[in-house]
Amino acid sequence: MSRNSSAPTAEKKESDQRLAKKPSELLTKEECLEVFRQLFLARYFDVRLIKEKKRGRLKGTLYSSHNQEAILVGSLFGLRPYDWISPIHRDMPAFFLKDMRSGWRNPNRIGMTIQEVCAQVFGKADSPGRARDNWSHIGSRAKKIIHSTSMLAGTIPVAAGVVYADRLDGGDAVALTYNGEGSTAQGIFHEAINYAAVHKLPVVTIIENNQWAYGTPTNKEYSLEDFARRADGFGIPGLIADGQDVFDVYDKVMQAVEYSRAGNGPSIVECKTFRAYGHGDHDDDRAAKYRPSEDVQRGRERDPIAVCRKRLVELGYLTEVEAGRFMAEGKNAMETTNEDFPAEVVEYMNEGIEFALKAPFPEAEEGGRWVFREDL
């Protein structure tokens, strides 16, 4: 059985009432087109890094968010600048998508610049973490992004503590944590949500259910089909979103966020999606073996870009002609060209890559620094 946002739980009914119209129905045309652009940007970021690696300009494992971009764009679009997030390995675009509505290049934006994120990917000194750990293991107190370790689900208690402090200071910030469905088996996932539920802390736990945890299918990770049901053990809302539909993700996450802001406490939003490639690019070949190709095909049928485009055409926000312009959907990275993406997207990404390529590596001596605070 599968449930949607109208699944019955005491608290949720309340919040349902509070939401007559769907949040996505309140978005303007401009906002909808911005959402569409952000999907292209997230996709292009992924595509471009894969190409940079093939070109040999980039080393290290890539964890692709291909086919899962709607989760990132849809969940972040409704947040306020001062809300907190904690992305993990599958969520690299989240670092720069955060607070993007304040302007892609707005220096005061409470989200990372594309330069910062690319500098991190390339291991340069201008990375927010000065390249002391790789890939998504960065964050920023100023940008309100929690610095994750590799240990899955480990940021959920941190997020809970962050908003506990915020509430104590009279704030109303919400914390969004991103987690793969596999990571929900970690004990700390439950300790943290239990604590958040006891104190009604505004922590929204996003579960990106892409059907696989590395080489392990969901039925070996969990006894139920819907990971949203992890919420049932705490009596908190467990929403399910169509992870391929950016507007459905937006609706469910906003519902959860409003619920938290109103002081009702934490919730879980499961976003159903499918991992496009291998766990990381090192796993692409093996993944082709351990995952039946029919499953992969079915899982990638509904490209989030295509789903969004269709909606925008229905809404009359895109003419057939405009809609036909950029055809990134359904293509693997190497099958795409820059013409498949809006120029401003390619331009923005170029700025990041060029900055990163020029940026210096950190000095070797930095390896010995900052074990303890140095500002004394």
């Binding site: 927010p128 973490g129 002391r132 964050g139 503590g161 402090a165 700390i188 604590y195 620094r369 074990v371």
Partner: protein, 337 residues
């Protein structure tokens, strides 16, 4: 207690009261400070260290947590990341193993991973140590795990004065600290002492010479400080003058005081109650070998717990833990080398 006109507050206080005062004073001084742990509020802590704290500062700042050590640490990291100073209690330091990942991988490395953007003022404190019949899970000294995990300060006070001064220094240090409270000392009468009326701290990284000596240096901390002092008495009777150094903080470590003593005595015995292998006693010896080897006239040796858990019943516990006798024997072996 004896109160006189000259010193209106000449009240001797025990180790536990000293810790309690540190918490009350720091909570009053710093409105951004939070205490959290299991049973620390309504109950006031298993040993009463936080007694009255919640009544005074409210349940938002003195939080009774679910039995979730990983979350107690993890949420403390979040609180600190968002501007708070946190003192987190482990009901017994033994249970820190249940929050281990959050301590060594999340909390300890935060400053390093963020290149100093984020320093976490978090003190994880709890009752520690053996000699009380607590068995394997209520007797641990597990400081070596954390000494081998970069980014953690490690503090082990042995007197009321140090307990208060070191706890305040740890809270204010801005670095994650594992703070070992020696539960056998909590209410020990013999070590009660007057505490300054005015605010004070004991700086981290400064060892204390508890007894001057010329023939032999005993380096130790925690419970074993008192065993070493007793051993020194016995040794004195046999004409051996032992100097006793109480490290007080293991990270940072006051190497100078150790080296200066050895320059004088040329002999070293290190005593602690943790398992021998990869314990801190070996660390002290390795540092001395590296930087003061030429001063040594005899093998630097260890008196530690055997490489066993701490068994429950008295004869077994006594068998595996350091004792005055074992310290005296080792000292004589070194002196007669």
């Amino acid at each position: 207690m004896s109160a006189t006109l000259q010193s209106p507050v000449s009240i001797k206080k025990n180790y536990l009261t000293a810790l309690k005062e540190a918490l009350f004073e720091e909570m009053a001084l710093n409105p951004n400070m939070i205490c959290q742990g299991e049973d620390i509020g309504i109950l006031g802590g298993a040993f009463g260290v936080t007694e009255g704290l919640q009544a005074q500062f409210g349940e938002k700042r003195v939080v009774d947590m679910p039995i979730s050590e990983s979350c107690i640490i993890g949420s403390a990291v979040g609180l600190a990341l968002n501007g708070k100073t946190v003192v987190a209690e482990m009901q017994f330091i033994d249970f820190i193993s249940c929050g281990f990942d959050q301590i060594v991988n999340m909390m300890a490395t935060y400053s390093y991973r963020t290149a100093g953007e984020v320093n976490l003022p978090i003190v994880v404190r709890g009752p520690a140590g053996g000699y009380g019949g607590g068995g394997p899970y209520h007797s641990q000294m597990n400081e070596a795990w954390f000494a081998n995990s970069p980014g953690l300060q490690i503090v082990v006070p042995s007197t009321p004065y140090d307990a208060k001064g070191l706890l305040k220094a740890s809270i204010r240090s801005g670095n994650p600290t594992i703070f070992y409270e020696i539960k056998n000392l909590y209410r020990l009468r013999d070590i009660e002492e007057e505490l300054p009326v005015e605010d004070y701290i004991v700086p981290l990284g400064q060892a204390a010479i508890r007894r001057q000596g010329t023939d032999l240096t005993l380096v130790t901390y925690g419970n074993n400080v008192y065993d070493c002092l007793k051993a020194a008495e016995t040794l004195q009777e046999q004409g051996v003058s032992a100097e006793v150094i109480d490290l007080r903080t293991l990270v940072p470590l006051d190497e100078e005081t150790i080296f200066a003593s050895i320059a004088k005595t040329s002999r070293l015995v290190v005593v602690n109650e943790a398992p021998m292998t990869c314990g801190f006693a070996g660390e002290v010896i390795a540092r001395v070998c590296d930087k003061a080897f030429h001063h040594l006239d005899a093998p630097p040796v260890r008196v530690t717990r055997l490489d066993t858990p701490v068994p429950w019943v008295a004869p077994l516990e006594k068998f595996v833990l350091p004792s005055v006798e074992k310290i005296v024997d080792a000292s004589l072996r070194v002196v007669r080398f």
